[in-house]
């Protein structure tokens, strides 16, 4: 009897375990053979709005199903798309549980800024992220080329065949050497150690010999006797290679504190890039200090870096969904959240000044007319083959930054010529947002 009793309990135990697995754990919910999958196209899905309540994604009846429309094409890399045949991506995928229950998303995006970003990137390959430094709100996130969520049926095979990878979100998943845009971090690290480093005078002979190798300035230019502030403004490789060598292992720590080398806690998945774990030679430190070598970053990370500098050393967690709203009562609000202090306030203030100098008389100057002062840093990521990638990170207005931006244009050549005008135009658009 005892054995029979145990055997029956064991049998039911198996059934309990099976129920538990298939009802709570098995990853089969979104399988296309599940008819409930098609059910979700027959129900009205929640909308996605920008910060001003303008619809970014909406569902409208189309015969038996509801069709999803998007207010602008570049949203496919942030809002994503939702399609009966091609599945879902971006926020549509991550917030599917909420959206499929009719709840709506209120994002921090601004449709006007997003459209400016789209305009600026059209026909290029690259990415743009615009943020509010004080809160971490993402005003625009674009990556070019993109797929148009409204035209998936018509263009799907072209998208698949496109060599430029329109499905790749370069803002979150594109990995690039930061080039000279790493210099503000190096300078920030130096300022954090020694506040007076900005007025130190360096002798820049145009090239620096380290053992049997040399580091050269861009175009081989020699700047002579310059202060460190000027070195940043003029993007002197010679000075920054030396600063990096002086900082040594401390530089690696600071790079990680700025959020490089690790995935950012964000509403969208993103890559962490690469910061070397150990650097053995002076030459490699010098390379790191000018953003070449092993270092790899995403445009989203660089936007967070620009934001942290603009926010006087406090890095805020970037976010794009500020509220999930459903029914009359259900509201789930995201609050701005600091990640960490990346440098002391005085160091950040000095760095802001140096970047303002770069915009006023250095490499980050622009010929565009602007109604505001801005600060920034350009970068040119040298690639093994093909032309260089152009970078710009910046913020405006210079004295009390309200917007920060990171721009990357693949094979754009020099940062000053290509990336700066895009960044300045986007800062202008971002400053027009509210207030």
């Amino acid at each position: 009897m005892r054995k029979s009793f145990l055997a029956i309990v064991l049998m039911y135990g198996l059934l309990f375990a099976g129920s538990f697995y298939w009802q709570l754990c098995a990853p089969i919910q979104d399988h296309p053979a599940n008819p409930r999958y098609y059910q979700m196209f027959k129900e009205r899905r929640g909308a996605v709005y920008d910060r001003n309540g303008l619809a970014l994604a909406e569902s409208a009846p189309d015969g038996e199903i509801f069709a999803r429309t998007y207010s602008t094409a570049s949203l496919s890399h942030v809002v994503g798309y939702f399609h009966q045949r091609y599945g879902m991506t971006g926020l549509e995928r991550i917030f599917h549980e909420d959206l499929s229950r009719g709840r709506s998303l209120i994002t921090t995006l601004d449709l006007a800024v997003q459209q400016s970003a789209e305009e600026a990137l059209k026909g290029r390959e690259g990415a743009v992220v615009v943020m509010k430094p004080a809160t971490g709100e993402v005003l625009a996130l674009a990556s070019a080329p993109w797929v148009d969520g409204n035209e998936l049926d018509a263009n799907w095979s072209d998208y698949l065949a496109d060599q430029r990878s329109p499905f790749l979100n370069r803002a979150t998943h594109g990995l690039y050497p930061p080039g000279s845009t790493v210099k503000p971090i190096v300078y920030g690290a130096a300022l954090s150690q020694e506040h007076t480093v900005g007025s130190q005078v360096w002798d820049d002979g145009g090239s620096l010999a380290i053992r049997n190798r040399t580091i050269q300035n861009f175009g081989g230019k020699a700047y002579g006797k310059i202060t460190a502030d000027q070195a940043l403004a003029l993007s002197s490789n010679v000075v920054f290679a030396q600063l990096a060598m002086e900082l040594g292992d401390g530089l690696l720590t600071v790079l990680r504190e700025f959020g490089l080398g690790a995935e950012i806690q964000f509403d969208l998945p993103n890559l962490g890039g690469h910061v070397p774990g150990r650097v053995s030679s002076d030459y490699d430190f010098a390379q790191l200090g000018i953003g070449q070598g092993e270092l790899l970053v995403t445009p989203l990370q660089m936007a967070a870096v620009a934001s942290a500098i603009a926010n006087r050393g406090i890095m805020m967690r970037p976010y794009v969904v500020q509220e999930v709203r459903g029914g009359l009562k259900m509201r789930q609000i995201t609050r701005p959240q600091p990640i960490r202090e990346v440098m002391p306030e005085e160091a950040a203030a000095a760095l802001l000044g140096a970047m303002e100098l770069a915009a006023a008389e250095g490499t980050a100057q622009t010929s565009l007319d602007t109604a505001f002062d801005y600060g920034g840093k350009t970068g040119t990521a040298q690639m093994g083959q093909g032309s260089d990638h152009a970078w710009f990170i910046g913020f405006a207005p210079a004295e009390r930054p309200q917007a920060a931006v990171a721009v990357l244009v693949e094979h754009g050549g020099s940062g000053s010529q290509v990336a700066v005008p895009i960044g300045v135009r986007l800062l202008e658009a971002a400053l027009a947002v509210d207030e």
């Binding site: 049998m11 039911y12 129920s19 008819p35």
Partner: protein
């Protein structure tokens, strides 16, 4: 553990009636007298069993299961539920018949064997087929499945076989012809069930590891041969091992059941909110998946707990029986019921290949319901008077 005080029992039926009343109000399409009739039946059976001095502890479990089945059939189709109401009434009579049969000790083993095989043979010769197996007999306009009763008679025979030490040759003849006829009818579920019950009873009667290994070897051999000989069985095995590769043919039913279960999650999508019309034969084979989708893991957990409670009730009763033959019959019938639960639910949960039997007390199907209530009646009857609360 199993003793249910009066008060609990009344409270419980009250809740059940509330649920049914809510359903009635919600759907507005069932006949109000049906739940009332069922409730009256359950109460009559409960007090009758008590009044006669038998253990009525099984009634709450059976009532919950039968009512759950009735509620879900109402949700699927009120027409099925109406028909099921009659089925439950007939099953009530079968329960009383079982109680009476169990309380007497009569019958010759060869009579039981003859009845079991005769019923099967009659089905095989004059039966009608439905759903892949020729398992129905039509008599005076009523259709029923004799195999449901035949396996009870076979358990009676097996009890005699062990206690009287009857000849092995006779056993081979009886069991062999029983299984062969079932195999010929392509009704492999009951064949499997009867074989397992035989093995279990044999081990219960006299346990040895050698025998256990022998039965395991025979099971494996039978499994392999069945795969070779019966394409029907082979399909079921393939649908069990690799349903994803046959998701719109033989794997369809299994997968749709799993999708239904998974979409239920923890608390379910709510009564009537499931998307279960896509599951083939949902009212006979797959009610468990419907319960899983609409009442969630909490619902299926509760359902399995009720089955487990019923199993404890009958095992306790069987345990205190002194006469070996009664004990064997009681255990055999308990196993028939709970191995069937295991094979059916396990089949839906992909623990074993799906064998296409009904979920005891819950599924649509009057014959199986009557046989199952009858079995519980027999167990209660075997327990004798004075054993109950």
């Amino acid at each position: 553990m199993i003793r249910i005080p009066y008060r609990t029992w009344f409270e419980f039926t009250g809740w059940l009636l509330c649920l049914i009343g809510w359903l009635f109000w919600l759907q507005g399409q069932i006949w109000w007298w049906q739940p009332l009739v069922l409730w009256v039946l359950v109460m009559v059976l409960f007090f009758l069993t008590r009044g006669l001095g038998y253990d009525a502890g099984a009634m709450p479990f059976m009532a919950v299961l039968a009512m759950t089945g009735w509620i879900f059939l109402t949700r699927l189709s009120p027409a099925w539920a109406s028909s099921h109401t009659w089925g439950i009434l007939i099953a009530g009579l079968a329960y009383l018949l079982g109680l009476w049969t169990g309380s007497k000790s009569f019958g010759h083993p060869l009579v039981w064997a003859g009845l079991a095989i005769g019923l099967l043979a009659a089905t095989a010769l004059f039966g009608q087929s439905a759903g892949g197996a020729r398992a129905w007999i039509s008599l005076f306009g009523l259709r029923f499945q004799p195999v449901e009763a035949a396996r009870i008679f076979l358990v009676f025979y097996l009890a005699h076989y062990f206690t009287e030490g009857r000849s092995k040759r006779e056993l081979f003849a009886v069991l062999g012809s029983f299984l062969l006829i079932l195999a010929w009818q392509r009704d492999l579920g009951p064949a499997l069930l009867v074989f397992f019950v035989f093995c279990w009873l044999s081990l219960h009667w006299q346990f040895s590891w050698l025998k256990l290994c022998g039965y395991l070897a025979v099971s494996v051999l039978g499994f392999v041969l069945a795969c070779q000989w019966f394409p029907h069985f082979q399909n079921r095995v393939v649908a069990w091992t690799q349903p994803w590769e046959y998701l719109d043919s033989i794997g369809y039913q299994v997968l749709q059941g799993l999708f239904a279960l998974r979409s239920g999650g923890l608390a379910g999508r709510g009564l009537g909110a499931g998307y279960v019309q896509v599951i083939p034969n949902v009212h006979t084979d797959y009610l468990f998946a419907v319960i899983g989708e609409e009442f969630g893991f909490l619902g299926t957990f509760a359902l399995l707990m009720v089955y487990l409670g019923l199993a404890f009730w009958s095992l306790r009763l069987v345990h205190v029986m002194t006469e070996p033959r009664r004990q064997l019959i009681g255990l055999g019938l308990t196993l028939l019921l709970h191995l069937q639960v295991f094979l059916v639910v396990g089949g839906i949960l992909r623990i074993v290949p799906f064998s296409g039997m009904t979920l005891p007390f819950v599924s649509f199907g009057s014959t199986s319901l009557a046989a199952q209530l009858g079995m519980v009646g027999i167990v209660a009857g075997l327990g004798g008077k004075g054993g109950g609360d």
